[in-house]
Symmetry: C2
Subunit: 327 residues, 2 copies
């Protein structure tokens, strides 16, 4: 026990952490993949450098997802909802019963636009088994907060014109979990009705990164390899990182929030984000359930392990239950 | 990424992990307490040395708990239930409505007998707000497996003579979570009816210690400072550590198990034990809910922080709900 900068700390010696043999072979292989060098972020003010990095990373994401084409018969329509681009994705065999899933994509609040949004939304639609609105919200460096959140709220308002709120479920993973939760806080504050439920997968709930696992899981999470603070600052563009619309963990959930499912893993850099948001929702009396995958980093095992299917089943059960309750 | 003994590993450099400032002052103070030297366990065959160490540790536990006397008016009767000593604890104001909580104490399967069992059971009774049977089960080194589990099953059988199973809730923390879960597996296999619900707080579900957080949280958990394998081997006394009655994580829960609440913390050495058991129960279709405290080690914050009250409320709500459903 030592004290650094007047904060007490625990000293941990250097260690080699083995991949747990209790995981599926696919999950073990994923955790055993060599860690690539971290490229780092550009200086905050160098917008061209940000644009270049974002374009490169989006290309890499798209290449990764190209191995998972949508199921045959999946329909994708690109629409403008009050000026916001939305991909309306209908998996094969889904009835036109009014149920819709509003999907807010992830990508650290800077990545995942355009074709990546479309590809991620297609995956979401297949997992939840419902018509899905994938919001291609504007992003930094050109459109920092509040533009991305404004676009999500706009899409939700547009949905409410043709749907009873009970027909809508709002969800997002990672940065999408931030925006989904912030959208719900803002919708409520603006007097809009709340949807049937929310799905928050490893939500980036706290852009101040005050959670313990930002330290304890650093180096263990195979996906999130470092603090995301440069992207957080680019997104917030001078706004207070602790504002509840910027970091929904700090919202007041006693004033209303829909039933919520949260998912994470024990090696997830956002484990603290997720369990703290779960505790905050429970403390406010919101029905909220938590599911944690053994040894999984951010976002599970790239969707390639049986463990990922386990969480998919929980989410499918949860959304089906809450849509049924609304029927 | 290196490979040690043919197992791929992640190398983590030495680090200083600060106490999170987002915790309550009480929880921060608990995490900031100096880590005492670990005394280690005696050689497996030296029973006298085990008896000495167990006596010393029990005295230390009793001294710790002496600062928390039972509420005035708490009644404690010592009974023999078919040869097993049980403390029957009735908190003040609890009605004689047949509801009973069967409390299996913790203590690494070697500690916590006698006066410690009585003191821990009194705390449990106050938290769950019900008459509590605290089982003073026999323990190693003189009474290894299956004697401790036999005693728990005997106490449950005795309760069933005077109570409908719906009036009974079974719970335990740590080693008590191991025995509570194993008791339920054995009761089911022996054709006994199952209780209304189970409370498994940071359960020692896997004596093989195959979970990831046995590695990743080593040094971070302020309570469990090292592997408990010597105590596990003393307990198992040559039985297979992976036997479901020894390590209930490996049980088949599809054949019946009551609704369960599980609790842990992100720094808990038993975080993996807990989330893996939660996943196993859910995969078998058992209604099971999980609650994880930010930055908490094994057993939370010694019961001294508001965060501990938060989990106490969840457990109280859960047992009240399941007793009411049975009424």
């Amino acid at each position: 026990m030592t004290t650094v900068d007047s904060r007490p700390t625990v000293h941990l010696p250097a260690r080699d952490i083995p991949v747990p043999s209790s995981l599926s072979p696919e999950a073990q292989a994923m955790l055993a993949m060599p860690r690539l060098e971290i490229s780092g972020y550009p200086p905050l003010a160098d917008k061209d450098a940000w644009r270049d990095q974002i374009a490169q990373r989006n290309e890499a994401l798209l290449a990764m997802m190209s191995g998972r084409p949508p199921a045959a018969g999946t329909e994708v329509d690109e629409i403008e909802a009050d000026g916001v681009r939305v991909y309306v994705i209908t998996p094969p065999g889904v009835p036109d019963d009014g149920r819709v899933y509003l999907d807010i994509h992830g990508g650290a609040l800077i990545l995942g636009g355009g074709e990546v949004c479309r590809a991620m939304g297609t995956g979401t639609a297949a997992r939840v088994g419902a018509r899905t609105w994938a919001v291609d919200y504007r992003m930094p460096p050109d459109h920092p907060y509040p533009a991305p959140l404004d676009d999500c709220v706009t899409a939700y308002r547009a949905l409410l014109r043709d749907h009873a709120p009970e027909q809508i479920i709002v969800g997002g993973a990672s940065a999408g979990g931030n925006l989904a939760a912030a959208l719900l806080l803002r919708a409520r504050d603006e007097g809009l009705p709340l949807p049937a439920a929310a799905v928050l997968a490893t939500p980036e709930a706290d852009l101040t990164e005050s959670g313990d696992t930002f330290q304890t899981n650093l180096g263990l999470d195979p996906v999130l390899r470092d603090s995301l603070m440069p992207a957080n600052l680019l997104y917030a563009a001078g706004h207070d990182l602790a504002d509840p619309y910027v970091s929904p963990l700090f919202g007041d959930f006693t004033k209303g929030f829909p039933p919520t499912i949260l998912t994470t893993g024990t090696r997830d850099l956002f484990l603290s984000n997720t369990v703290r948001l779960h505790r905050a929702l429970r403390a406010a009396g919101v029905p909220a359930e938590l599911h944690v995958l053994e040894a999984a980093g951010h976002g599970g095992f790239f969707g390639m392990a049986p463990e990922d299917r386990d969480l998919d089943r929980e989410i499918r059960r949860f959304v089906t239950l809450h849509w049924s309750a609304a029927a």
